[in-house]
Every structure is written in C-alpha cells, then in structure tokens.
Symmetry: C2
Subunit: 410 residues, 2 copies
C-alpha cells in the first residue's frame, strides 16, 4: 500500500469520532472545579450587582438638584442617612437630601448619582456640592456585570479561575461536570529501562511513560498506568485485555521493535477486536493503530516519542476531546508566515514543531531544531505544530503555513 492509498489524518479522526460515547456526569462543589469541563450551560440566576451601587465613598443624591452648583455657589444638601458597607438604605431621598454612602453600598431610593467625598465640603448634617452632575454619574447599575438570564458559561467549556469566580458571584455552589474518562496506558519495548535502573549495552531509558501520563493528565483524563512490559506477545495480550476491562479507553506506545502493527493489532485481533486503521498519511506519526475491542477504543502509538505525540495530536485529539466533553474538539489554528524556507519534500502531510514570532502585527512560524521521529526535546516549550500540506515540494520564506496552537497540551 502506498501512502496515496492511506487514510488521511482527518479520515482517521472521523472514523474515531463516529463511535458513540456515553457521558457520565458528576456534581461537584465549585471549589473542586478548576480545569473541569462543564456539562451544563450556566445562566445568570441573579443580576450582578443586584442593586444600583456606589463605586466610591461619597454622597448619593438627585442629579437634577445640582443644577447651577459651582465652586463659588455650592448647593447644600441635608444628610439624612449614613449607609455602611453591606447595609441597605432605610430612607428614600427627597429634593436636596443626600445619603452618605460607602463603596459597594446600595443607592437609596430617589438617588441617581454619587459625588465623591473629596469633591465636596461637608459637616455632620450638610454636604455642599460644587459642580453640576448628570444622572447616573458614578453609579454601578444593577445588572452591569451580569444580567439575570444571560448565558455566562457554555456547556463543554473548561473551567478556568475567572469562570469559578463567575459561578461564585451567582451564589452557585454545585455544578455538573463530565466525569473524567479512565484512560489505561502501557508501553512495551524490551530495549527500554526505567529511571533508577542501570543500562545494559543496547538499552535506552524510556521517556514515553512519564511524557504520556503527564499529557493525558493535563488533558483531563483519569490515567491508570500499567507501566512497561517487554516485547512479549502473551504479556501484551494479557495487558490489553486487562486494560480494556478496567478502563474506558486504552492507549499504548511501542512494541515498535517487533513492528508496531504486528503485536498491537494481533493482540487486539486475538482478543476478538476489530482493527480500524493501521496508519495514516502523515509524517512523523503515520504509524498508529486504532482498533475497537469490547466497544472500547484502543490506540497503539509508535514507540518513537515524536511519532507518538504527533500521531496522537493530529489523528486522535478531536476524539479525546470529545470523550472529555469539550465543545471545541480542534486545537485553535491559523495561518502564520514561514520565517525560513522549508526545503524538505512532503509527499504526505508533514508536521513541524516550532514557535511563533511576532513583529509589527505579523506572526511568523519558526521551526525548532530537532524534527526527527525520535527527538523529544523539541517538544519542550513548543508553542505550535505547523502542517505542510501533502504534495508540497518546497515552501519559500514568506509563504503562509497552517499552525496549531498546542502549548496547552503539555
């Protein structure tokens, strides 16, 4: 099979997205909400503020009574009440009456403006206004921040710090969020050793375990790691079965040393599963086996760190975001200007690691060094992945290239 006959990464994504998924919800206190995905629209229950209030320490009065006031001819108002913070005014104002008011307090009935302390002269019983003011001056009006009935937060959005404050300001204590899907992860490779062990000749330290567990946790999964196994078919079969039984989906890396496709797909097949696809037309990351076993999805990624991350990103991310409950399944993407020419031929889609540079209102894509299949370090502090379209022979500096913002992945 040549790469022209292979699935495109988008076709691979769609095959995964087409499988149904049953969402489990849970109700949590907003204090536990950071990073969780909302499973309901949140609509304002109350106006915020729920009354007209003062943004300053000052005097509340009727603006129309200030007509003609000046430094030379101040107008006197009788102070009929003092409104402490958190208290509600007891009296309605008549003409040429004022209430002393503190920041955040509610305006008394009849008042329609606030004049700051420092702009007035006052005694205990009277305040002298030295300027004309218009109605609604210095008033924070009811509903200015949030109007009752207004959509505040959308179902499928990730709760960030301000979102939690928005919920608190509405007096909302509990919210419905999507339960974290349980993702089972293991990796295989007889040549791999874990940190803390000594290397024999021909062995290398594994980096995928911690990288992928961290990526999946950052994304919002409840990760169950089954650790590292050698390239032993029986062990891989047993672990595949166990992980599928215990988790909502299973991701693995490696087994590459005996051919990615062979072991992972044979394990799924021997257990009665169905292979969906074994590669997509992209580089790095094309070799990625997707299958279904007992109505669950199994994703076998390459053992090469870069291939594994990029295949996961380009083919599986929309599906993973769907499972997490996100309303937006795709990474934000846009056109950036290529800073340096891209000389490598790309018969298939090619994904490049890089960063953005900005100058004079323009945005440039700058390729990072270390684009090999096995190079992990170029993902550190990596802001974007750029996508070279299939069939590209050469790109000039100044050409536009599609980039995906991915720093939130890591």
């Amino acid at each position: 099979m040549t790469y022209q006959d292979q699935l495109s990464p988008d076709q691979g994504s769609q095959i995964l997205l087409d499988f149904p998924w049953t969402y489990d919800l849970e109700e949590i206190h907003i204090k536990q909400g950071l990073g969780r995905i909302l499973a309901e629209d949140v609509v304002a229950r109350i106006d915020v503020p729920s009354f007209d209030k003062s943004p300053y320490d000052g005097y509340a009065l009727k603006a129309e009574n200030t007509k003609g006031a000046s430094k030379d001819q101040p107008i006197a108002f009788e102070i009929i009440e003092e409104i402490p913070a958190g208290a509600f005014p007891k009296k309605a104002l008549g003409d040429f009456q004022a209430a002393k008011i503190l920041t955040g307090s509610a305006l008394p009935q009849g008042a329609n403006c606030i004049i700051k302390f420092e702009a007035t002269d006052f005694t205990e019983r009277e305040v002298f206004i030295k300027e004309e003011v218009t109605a609604n001056s210095n008033v924070v009006t009811k509903g200015e921040s949030m109007k009752k009935g207004q959509l505040l937060l959308e179902k499928g959005s990730r709760l960030d710090s301000p979102s939690l404050g928005v919920l608190a300001s509405q007096g909302i204590e509990k919210i419905s969020v999507y339960k974290k899907p349980k993702l089972g992860f293991f990796l295989s490779g007889s040549e791999l050793k874990e940190v803390g062990q000594d290397l024999e000749p021909g062995q290398i330290y594994d980096s995928n375990h911690l990288t992928f567990v961290s990526i999946f946790k950052t994304m919002g999964f409840d990760v169950k790691s089954y650790g590292l196994v050698p390239d032993d078919f029986d062990q891989i079969v047993a672990l595949t079965q166990r992980a599928v039984d215990e988790c909502d989906l299973v991701v693995t890396t490696g087994g590459a040393s005996v051919g990615d496709y062979d072991y992972s797909s044979r394990a799924v097949e021997i257990l009665g599963g169905q292979i969906l696809f074994t590669r997509t037309a992209m580089k790095p990351g094309g070799s990625l086996v997707a299958s279904r076993l007992k109505d669950k999805t199994v994703l076998n990624l390459s053992g090469n760190p870069a291939s594994a991350i990029l295949g996961l990103f380009r083919v599986c991310l929309p599906y993973l975001k769907k499972l997490l409950g996100y309303k937006d399944l795709y990474c934000p993407s846009f056109q950036a200007i290529l800073k340096e020419p891209m000389k490598k031929k790309s018969p298939r889609i090619r994904i490049l690691r890089g960063n953005l540079e900005y100058a004079g209102g323009k945005v440039y894509f700058v390729e990072k060094s270390g684009q090999g299949n096995g190079v992990l370090s170029s993902f550190v502090d990596c802001q974007v992945f750029a996508e070279v379209p299939a069939g590209t022979a050469y790109m000039e500096a100044g050409d536009l290239i599609k980039v995906y913002l991915v720093d939130q992945l890591f």
Copy 2:
C-alpha cells in the same frame, strides 16, 4: 496627588523586585515534577541514543558492499546474527555479511546502514539486496536526540510533559526544584457573602476568594486561605499579623468599602510595617497597596475583581514570578493590530481584556465586551491584555497595540 505624580506600574514592579528573596529548594522525583520550576540547569549525562541504532526491522550491513546491486542483479549477504530488541550485537560484520536487526536495536560493529525487510529477499541464511545504498542510510546515530554535555533544560524553566520525558530519557530520577512559596490570602468586605448563604438586601456574593486562590495555585504557589472577614479594623489587623507570621507573602482583596488605602495600610502601619506605594498610574487596577512587614511583602488589591486582577498582573506579576523561581519574569508580549478603533481617552495606562484573531499572517487584537472595574466574566477565556499607553487620546483601527499573552495565568 494627580496621576502624573503617581508611580508608573513599571516603577511599582521594580520596587517589589528590588527586595531580596531567599530561595528554598527541594529534591523531588521526576514523577512529581509536572508544573514545578527547575532550580538547576540540566545537562545531558549520556548520548541519546547511546549507540547507533536501527529505526526499522531490517538488515545491517556495509553500504559499500551494495555497489552494483539491482533488482536484476541482487547481491547476496550471509546472515551471521539476529539481534533481538534490547540485546547488543555479539559479532562484528565482515564484507558481504549481514545481521538481522529489529527496530531500536544497536548496529553491529562494521555495519553502517540498514535495509528494511520489505526491500529485500531473504532465506534463513542469506539476504539479497536489490539496490545500492549509501553509508549511514536508515541509521539513527549515537547522540542524534541528545548529545552528552548539551544543555537540555534551563534553571528557572517550568517542567512540562516533554521536559519530564527528557529527564527520564537521561535516567535522571531526582531533580532540584524551587519550593513553592507559601502565599497567605484573605479578603474583606462586610457586603460579601459566600456561596451557600442567603443574600440580605445590599449584599453580594463574593467572587474574589475562589478566583484568586485558583490563580495563585495555577501560578505555582502553596496557597493558604484565611477566608472572608468583615470590614472590621481589629479583625483585619489580627489577620494581617497572623498571615505574615505564617506565610512567605500575603495578598488580600477588598476592604474597598472603607477605602482600600485606609484599612490595609493602617493595619500594616499599626503592626510596624512600611507602605511602599498605594497606587500606580494605570486603569483599572491603579489602587494597589504594596507594603513590607517583618521583611515580608503584603499586597492589598482592590475589591473590584477586574481592578484586582489587572493590578496584580501589571504591577506584581514579575515579582511573583521571581519568588516562584521563573527565569522569565515577564509575560510574552508583542504588537498586534487593533481591530476596532479605541475611542476612550487614556490619560493613564489602560489595560483592555481581549482575544487575538489571525488572518493571512497578521494578528489582530479584539477587545472583549465588559471592560468595567467590576466585570469578571470578560476574563473567562481571555487570551491577552492589551496596553494603551498613558496619554493616548484615540487609537485607529489598524494601529499597533502591545498585548501580553496571559491565558496561562488562569
């Protein structure tokens, strides 16, 4: 004092940055490293890979022996060894000898290229090569991913998922990170109620508590919250004292209903502290009291959510990042193109909440609705803060405006 006489936000930042800070370090397992700040440069201890290896299942041999090979005239090589994954080759290759090799395995001595299985014909004892190959074809060379001695991760950088993988690939089990500074937080406001309680007339639900605790946790602080107190001077004094005794720095919001400046600064002063500044020339967020008490910094932010967040961001963030151990103290910033004219006069620096839009290689700043001092909802999904310079009367659509990338704050 007019705003021309006020400190600039940058001057405020510098006053804070000039105070010395003693860093505490801790050694942690890399499994606990996500999001922590490295307290040491990490230099590669070993080459990765530490030997020339094969990226494919195939045959290792001497490239020069393939000269003249073609489909019609294949050249035969004797298979002298099979190298399983994770094993090291035992034999050196002579001319026209080959070793069967699996992905990830080390090349035997004498070999300088790999030919994929599928490009060959083979029996158990011989493999037939049908093309000429050049030296180093299909070889992952020793040190290709990381070279011994190379700087991999810088002191003061935040550990993301790939960074942890980089450490693992070096066999590094423990690393030195900055201990999380203990940040004491409380807020005051007699008009404030917590969620779960009923509102009396004139009261509002507090949103700052959860917003700020979440922001500080996201930044990397060990946050100790002392909760909500009414605008009672004695309580504020007592809590200030306790928080300063128990924490490395103290941040508060509110007390705004009796004048931000009064209570917070009087509490610090009565306890023998020193006020550094009480406002800076920016809007929103200008009213921010910074002081020192018992060699610790106390930051009193406005009770208005937007003023508090923006004052914290523009004046205090570099200082907070210094305490956390970051090498880069400032948010990434660049020039974007103003999408709509900015009509409001800005005698002081004005900070606008907004998002970026990209089109054709250009980057635009789009203001979010809800720029008031008290509006929190416009921080939800807010990517950037734009800065209108002091003294700006008007900005045209198409003008350049400085934006700070702040989505990582939340």
